[in-house]
Symmetry: none
Subunit: 197 residues, 4 copies
């Protein structure tokens, strides 16, 4: 069992990072199942055996990658929403957070989306995956209590909102467009209308 977890976060582990970076590229270009370890090794610029110094298996690698980026996304999206805002203002923080993450790390966003349900995700990955949803549902429930968000199952509303954002990113990726600020603001208004009471 290795994962170099004892190494401090500031330690330089360039090969481990090169492997994770190459994995993110390949798993979002193709998929996990259709990326081979030799291919990954080559892209990372390491020997095939080297991957196994850092990760126990292909599955362990994809889980480490998933957790790393899901945590980053959760922090970026829901990490620093100030208290004392109206639900409408909070929504803009959420939407802008999603936009920031998807713009800065488009491959990571698509990787997380594509691999969300995958059979090879372990308990830690599933827990990491649930955190952002949990926070969003809390936000929606609170907004409903304050009369700002429409009635209905918070899970359904969240699914609609996150689905809409995902649709936006995929569409932009497919057509080679970027998510510009105009799109951000238009969509912020439109999706808030979906949510508003």
């Amino acid at each position: 069992m290795n994962d170099h977890s004892a190494v401090s976060a500031t330690a330089v582990t360039p090969k481990r990072d090169a492997i994770l970076d190459a994995a993110l590229e390949l798993f979002s270009e193709r998929t996990f199942a259709s990326t081979s370890m030799p291919e990954l090794a080559q892209r990372a610029g390491v020997g095939a055996g080297t991957i196994y110094r850092y990760f126990d298996s292909k599955d362990a690698l994809v889980n480490a990658l998933f957790q790393r980026w899901k945590t980053e996304m959760t922090d970026t999206v829901s990490g620093d929403i100030p208290a004392g805002l109206t639900p409408r203002e909070q929504f803009t923080h959420w939407w802008r957070g999603l936009w920031t993450f998807a713009t800065e790390h488009p491959a990571a966003f698509l990787f997380l989306e594509t691999h969300h349900h995958a059979a090879y995700l372990d308990a830690a990955s599933r827990r990491a995956g649930a955190e952002l949803s949990d926070r969003a549902i809390t936000y929606i429930r609170d907004g409903q209590r304050r009369g700002a968000i429409r009635k209905g199952s918070p899970e359904v509303l969240m699914a609609l909102v996150l689905g809409a954002f995902t649709g936006l990113v995929k569409s932009a990726t497919e057509h080679g467009r970027v998510l510009n600020r105009t799109t951000l603001e238009t969509s912020d208004d439109a999706v808030w209308a979906l949510l508003a009471a």
Copy 2:
């Protein structure tokens, strides 16, 4: 090259259908890449070699499957919208059409979604995939002209709407829920609010 194109559309080709049906089951249970041809042959109740009488390769099979279901979905969703309706009424037809397809063929809906970007899709599949989007964009553009749908890029609005629906279906699947009529009506209102001027 075979695809039985000489066989008339109404001819009964039970093995071909059995193969496509088994493929849909397996590709949505696991994934395309992690389904093997012998496995597929067994599920379809045919010999492994028989698949190659109907499809040139595994890739050709997944393309045929994609086109079959994308066509079906396009027809179900946008096939019979009566003329002379308001944009709001038309939207309900669209949304109900999506719901009908996703409810009657949940595996097909998820299969189409999952494989939308896949590298192995050929030109015909991509064309089939674009048809529904094209019709939706036409609808949105028309609604904007009539002042019923909010301003903004039709592509973006469509991405938001289809993304929202996809989010709904995936969420239901993940939590083992079905898309009931209440959810249908609640979401119809909410998503129309997203779209409405």
Copy 3:
């Protein structure tokens, strides 16, 4: 799980036999652990994948081989000892049986000897391996009761006798000699002296 056990014993399965024959050659020339599957496939004249139609794994193959030959050896050595003989006469049947088997199937004899304790042998192999010993111990116990065989632990006496025979075969193999009839008769007398009361 395959092992073609449903196939009748008289069915011709030439590839399966070719694989087992090649495995016997290689496992006795080198060892199980240092024989590779590609090497084995080549020696057997089949593709590497073909081995896996007949055996689930390398371990399953070595177990099938062990059981096949241990059964054959048990039958040859202890299968047809007539009733009503003196212990001395019975001993000659045993010794001649060992000699027959080791002469007709020298590689099999060495393979069985070398792999007797191996960690990868399964329960069925261990059971097959114990049968001949059990019969030999019964013979010794009976000879002791009749006063023809010397006192002492039957297990120890059997270990000495079978060990002596094994030493003979290994020595012959090492020096490229065959076990001729003179050696057979000399050793029959000598080993009976070991056993006799």
Copy 4:
């Protein structure tokens, strides 16, 4: 080429010894082929690279180990047989020597036996392996000349005797028994009967 041959025999080379000791343990627990160098390094408490300061390769290591223990066994078994004894008395020295070595170094005894024929043994190992046999054959030939040992090929008689002893040790090991003094004395008599004229 290294083997520290410049180092005097009495020099303390604790790492080399630690490596050889760990190798004996592991090669008798599993086998040579299924013991990895990193595993061996860890058991010996040295770095993986360190092994290569003392031994050129895995093969060189197993040869060094073989020679070390074969020499020790030869000395223990045939090193101090006093002159002027009868063949019967000498035999007891031989048998007791084997028993002493196998009791004090059971892993070494089994290692030597298991690797006797191994393809990777070099000329020096084969020479070391032949020494004890040569002395035993000289003893048998002398005993035959004096009329104390039965007629027949000395090689065959030696193979029977050493084989019998090996069978005894393996049987004891398999059943978790030790070679006690009673067994020693019983077997001394029995095996002398095999040898006696």
